[in-house]
């Protein structure tokens, strides 16, 4: 079962990961997918993969139920392990690379409730920073803020150009969404946001292509998707807006590269695309029905007690 699929920066490669412990890389050419590599190394289901910015070469991070995070690098056509991190006590559920301005910087969220931020020190060594007890019961998703928070630019017209702040958002089993920010090398919780009534499954910080405000999308087990916006450059106040309440668990939210279209996938095996209209309402602009899910068949996967 595929748990995650990610296209690389140019959209020419697709990495998928699966519970069969494998990470597969497909070349997408002319509408077809050719298996280019099969990365073996994890000992449990692989939950998520993430591509780093191409300026670092072809670098892929994967995280697994086996409590490990592996960073892979392609050199000369072969993929090798660049680094393996095993500092978590439970399944690692999410990995996310920071914007390339910050170098190779990876956030990992785990079921043990902690979040690790791994940074590459340049000489090939990696330094982990662990945020313990970030989310009780577990952290399900992490997503970095773009390096430039536009609000800070717009509202501080003549101020000196400050170094961009490292921020990321995480969502967990405590139904909370938290924003973390680095201060003097330490990670501190900047904001705690509550709206969901069940586990938060995915969070996605929108890319800031020309957008004037920070935007985060979050989805949850409770079927709801929220769009959080922040017009305050200090990042102080985030206002949630309910995008839609779906009938089933919403697993993923994903932004288009310009950050104006949001793709949402839910338990009903459907993908829908949403776009904000003039008046700030989110409208469904597309609905991709897989048509081959379990929607029409009996629900054979009901958990047995």
């Amino acid at each position: 079962m595929i748990h995650d699929a990610q296209m690389d920066y140019y959209g020419t490669r697709l990495a998928t990961c699966s519970s069969d412990r494998s990470v597969k890389i497909f070349d997408i050419k002319n509408g077809s997918q050719i298996l280019a590599a099969d990365l073996r190394g994890h000992e449990g289901p692989v939950w998520q993969v993430a591509w780093a910015h191409p300026m670092f070469g072809n670098v892929l991070a994967s995280c697994s139920y086996d409590r490990k995070v592996i960073i892979w690098k392609e050199e000369g056509g072969t993929w090798d392990r660049l680094y393996e991190y095993d500092g978590h006590d439970s399944s690692v559920n999410s990995v996310s690379w920071a914007s390339h301005e910050f170098g190779l910087l990876l956030a990992c969220g785990s079921s043990d409730g902690s979040i690790s931020v791994l940074s590459c020190l340049g000489d090939g060594t990696w330094e982990p920073h662990k945020i313990s007890n970030a989310h009780t019961i577990g952290c399900n998703a992490v997503s970095w803020a773009p390096a430039v928070i536009p609000g800070t630019l717009m509202d501080a017209p003549s101020g000196p150009k400050s170094t961009p702040v490292k921020r990321f958002v995480s969502g967990g089993c405590d139904n909370l969404i938290k924003i973390w920010r680095e201060e003097d090398g330490q990670w501190a919780e900047e904001k705690k946001m509550e709206a969901h009534s069940d586990w938060v499954r995915d969070v996605a910080w929108a890319p800031s292509i020309g957008l004037p405000s920070g935007t985060i999308a979050s989805c949850s087990q409770d079927g709801r998707v929220f769009i959080w916006t922040c017009d305050d450059p200090a990042g102080g106040s985030w206002t949630p807006k309910l995008l839609h309440k779906f009938g089933d668990v919403v697993w993923h939210v994903s932004w288009s590269i310009t950050g104006n279209i949001l793709a949402v996938s839910g338990g009903d095996n459907k993908v829908s695309l949403w776009k904000e209209s003039t008046d700030g309402q989110w409208k469904c602009v597309s609905d991709v029905n897989k048509g081959q899910g379990i929607s029409s068949g009996p629900d054979e996967t009901r958990p047995e007690q």
Binding site: D4, Y9, K24, D279
Partner: protein
Amino acid sequence: MSLLTSHARIVRHEFGTSLEELSRSGHRGTLTSHRDYLDVVVAGRNILKVFAIEEEAFVEKVNLRVGRRTSVNYSCSDVAWHQLDDNLLATAATNGAVVTWNLSRSSRNKQELLFAEHKRTVNKVCFHQAELHTLLSGSQDGSMKCFDLRRKDSVCTFNGQSESVRDVQFSPRDYFAFAASFENGNVQLWDLRRSDRCERMFTAHNGPVFSCDWHPEDRGWLATGGRDKMVKVWDMASARPRELFCVQTIASVARVKWRPERRYHLATCSMMVDHTINVWDVRRPFIPFAAFEEHRDVTTGIAWRLPHDPHLLLSGAKDCTLFQHIFKDAKRPADRANPEALCFGPRGDVAFAAKEGLSANDPARRALPGDRRNPFFFIRKAPEPYDASLTQQHSGSVCSVLNVFQRCDAKEKLNPLENESESFVELAQRYCLAGRPFAELCDHNARIAMELCRHQVAQTWLILKLLYAGGDASPSPALLPNGGIFCGKDGSSGLGGDGMSERGKSEGHGDGGLEEPNEETEGSDVENLTASVGLYAAAAGLYSGNGEEERLELLDQDTTTSDFPEFSLPPEAFALRHEIVDGPAGLEHLQTNGPDGPGSGDEDGTDEGMRSACQGKVGGSTAGLGITAAESVSLISVSQPLFGQTLPPEVFAPAVIAMLEFYAERGDVQSTVSTLIVLGEKASGGVDTLVQEHWYLSYLELLQRFRLWDVATQVIRLSTCAAISALNHDSTSLNLNCSSCRRALGAKGWLCDRCRRCASVCAVCHHAVKGLFVWCQGCSHGGHLKHMHDWLSASPHCPTGCGHLCEYT
């Protein structure tokens, strides 16, 4: 004894209340539950106790280790409770002794028999299910012994002819059969009546097989767990043992126990690393069905409490605790696992993988295209059935199918928004950003935008041209007359405060007209498919048909009612500006609808534009009208002063800035940056440089994503932002070596200090190279691009004859 508060129904027992006892109890090997299922025996190196399982706690009943002397015979590695006799226990000792205990003895010492026949540790003892007196043991010395409890010694010895026996299990279905697992990875099947050789032997695992367990119901199903982190289920009933299932765990498997009443479930615990007890659905080979994570150290023994109750599990661990788990409290990693993957590609395509249902093989079920009522839909691109599992027919429920959905071509549905990314690339490549007069640039770009159905953008370019180039160089005659007429009329009166209020008043009118423009929009949509630049120009001019007349009337009224003197125009323009800034918000929908305005009433449109901007409620195509109208406002507002009086461009700069910001806000940073570049000095003053920088960076980022390096470079070069232009100076220095002596060249240029020769000589024609020069990084030789190319297509060696195999990429 303590009770976990968070899991009220999990009974937990800590051995001893004082530290002293805890340390003595140390390690416990294993446990079995009593036949009455009310008692549990716990055995370990330093412990052998029977506990009664009560509602909320374990209560110690008997301590079988009595007396001061601690015999090694009691250092247990395994314990078994007889299925038929409540009082009969057997333990296996690390010194090779097999001891039986009778709990019904009245004395404190309950030991009954002691068999000291094995030479090394006995790993396992097992009672026969039906025979009262038959006990089987498996030892590290490689042999298995069968004891009759009525005799003082073993009945027979089975020699496995290999390394240590890790587990022995009587088959629940075959009276005489038992299975034994070995350290070398083999599993043997024996018949009790034949002690000379095994019935069958096969290699089950790579490395030791620590545990095996017969399925309680399915005849011949044997589960084995090994150090190779796998659990395998074998069909022993067939002639050759056949592997039915294989579960991959994350740590070596120490114990395997089938779950009662659940055909495909089994529980495992690990020998190291992993402290959790996992319950697997063997059809789902990678993710545990349930997990119990209470233990803080390695779990050493597991037992289902009742033979027909799948909900109670007992476990003991090295952390000196005994737990009774209730299944409801288990974590469900399989449910927690994300069954779907979704990714938005940079080209607007969507990759989506989802769980495949059991009936997915049905060819009649196909992926449906998206709902056509919505503006974009996708086609499925090259379906890629992807087997995540080791496709066994049972495991259909855990397969995924990966699809990449591509935006549909605009052929079926002429929607300008289709394939946004392609038009992005087109525009990026074809936009002309410099090198021609301003008006020409605008025209060129407008034409290109038009060709790509980006009507709004095209219009913007035309308006910009009007604004800044004064319209005199306009190649589209339709535009000028229209604009001219109106401007003439308006110019004298100005679009005064009354005009504004008039517009405000007609808001109510606009309400009524809501339906109508809607229809018109659709109509004009179709019309627009055939729209040419001519029609387009009319759109830019904006007044045609009824709308024009209405507008004319309105303007006439304005003329009569307006008493404003001409020179009050600048403030009016500013008043208008406010509207303009709001107006563009309504523009959003133009893209989805194409240019409509021309056929529709301008007044309605204007009102609607206002309305949508102010109230923000008119969505979808309706707003489309408002858009052109809103554009028209900006057009009027600026064209009037333009023709009526000569105003400095600063007057409309705010509108332009608002336009830039609008595009940026909408994510169309391409339009923002392109217009910004073309406008150059004209507009850049009004926008904060940091904002500009952000726009530029965003656009460059996008260009790089689409690998449009040359465009990106051009943008950097043309940018008015110092910080952006500086990007081109990054990492541009090249260190050169002299081609003859290989010494690094200094800053002096092409003359080598040492050998006093010109370093930039072509290796092929021996002339100095001007223009493109290509070098080999290995031998420093090079020359004219063309010469080198020709040479190397014929020979792989360096043309100088230095013997280097040059690589030019």
